[in-house]
Symmetry: C2
Subunit: 248 residues, 2 copies
């Protein structure tokens, strides 16, 4: 039987899981960041990813609803504020809609969800289900993919600005905000997990939770790649890119 | 506002959904049935599909648990008998394991679920969640993909026997049974749906349920195709085919 890990050993294991399974390793991201996608493929990515963005506050509210400690809730609720903002047009979801607007997507279509790939929907649903059904420790641990977000966001913003003339810095404002929010959030969650995963079993559950969450992110890109890159056969009810209009 | 459909019109709409969205249209099946897959790719298909097979009785038990009418339950419970059998080694799940055995897969690996693609897991989970949370009518309607099963099963059995020397008729016994079971099940479910979807709203829900279920089947193949065909980049913890051993 393996011994209980020290908090530092647990952190090292978690970082190793991220190095292996985080979606920065996914071929779709290599294409997205290096300018090898057409505008319609970037649209498909943004439209599908909206489903994930839309559900982040639902996920965080489900976690919040399971926290007995007001001090803990005060910290966690900031995530909901970040994504929902304090008025219409503010917050991370609104910033994602600015991106889909800037890409020329119809906002009603994006918000309706009717053009999503089934794989997107199921992955996001699985995430919501996970945080509702698993322990609070596992739910918090599943947020730890944010540990690895700053690296991919830096590459994404630089790569998309360099390669796509239909993407502006303003359109990517969502990511600039996340560069500040994600480290604050993941520092807190990592510290929580290191303090509370004090048995081998809990440490295993925490690692499984991070693996699961990496799968949530990864499988969304599998579906996108199949539908819009190779072989490029989209689910018959999914988003179809129209030929690019003249630039506004 | 559209008028309520006659039962026959509703059936026609449901059959049109199947013609458009059922997974017999998916490129992965074209490869599988025409002999264009390697043994390792067929193994990956059978291993992932086991997760779906494993959950069919869970799905049917969830539906059974919501049926107030003993007569209805007596009919529906047969589905569970079909998949679980009456003793070890009998029933649809055991027959699926005969297939994975015949393909040279380790039974512990298959049953553990640890080599699954995340997309497989999430699609199957979404199906279970659907039948637990939606109305009984929608849950029953989601089973209607079986209306379209005999056609694909016929092509699958003929194609696999013709093209793959590592597949025998005995290994495909699961499908021979389904050729008899699926029409009986889908006839009943279709009749139920035609009788109970007596408002426009219910008829819409029934159609949405069938669309949803087609997505459950479809998205599993998206994930398989991405991981094992094109580009062939599997989730790092997923099944890896070993070079074929000498035939037994």
């Amino acid at each position: 039987m393996t011994a209980v890990l020290s908090p530092e050993q647990l952190e090292a294991e978690l970082r190793a899981i991220g190095a292996r399974l985080y979606h920065d390793q996914h071929p779709f991201h290599a294409l997205l960041h290096s300018g090898r996608l057409e505008r319609g493929q970037v649209q498909a990515w943004a439209l599908n990813r909206y489903e994930y963005q839309r559900c982040i506050p639902l996920k965080d509210a489900a976690i919040l609803a399971r926290m007995d400690d007001p001090a803990l809730r005060r910290i966690w609720r900031q995530r909901i504020v970040d994504h929902d903002g304090s008025a219409d047009g503010e917050g991370g979801i609104a910033r994602w809609l600015h991106l889909t607007d800037a890409l020329g997507l119809d906002r009603d279509l994006v918000q309706s969800g009717r053009a999503l790939l089934p794989g997107t929907r199921f992955a996001v649903q699985a995430y919501l289900q996970f945080v509702r059904e698993k322990s609070l420790l596992e739910a918090i641990a599943s947020s730890l993919t944010e540990l690895f977000a700053p690296g991919i966001i830096g590459r994404r913003v630089a790569g998309m600005l360099q390669h796509y003339d239909f993407v502006s810095r303003e359109a990517l404002a969502y990511f600039e905000h996340r560069l500040h929010e994600a480290p604050r959030d993941s520092d807190f969650a990592l510290d929580y997990v290191k303090r509370h995963a004090d048995t081998l079993e809990k440490q295993q559950l925490v690692q499984d939770a991070l693996r699961f969450k990496c799968g949530v992110l990864w499988s969304q890109l599998d579906a996108l790649h199949f539908a819009y890159v190779q072989p490029g056969v989209a689910w018959p009810e999914a988003f179809v890119a129209r030929p690019a209009q003249a630039a506004a």
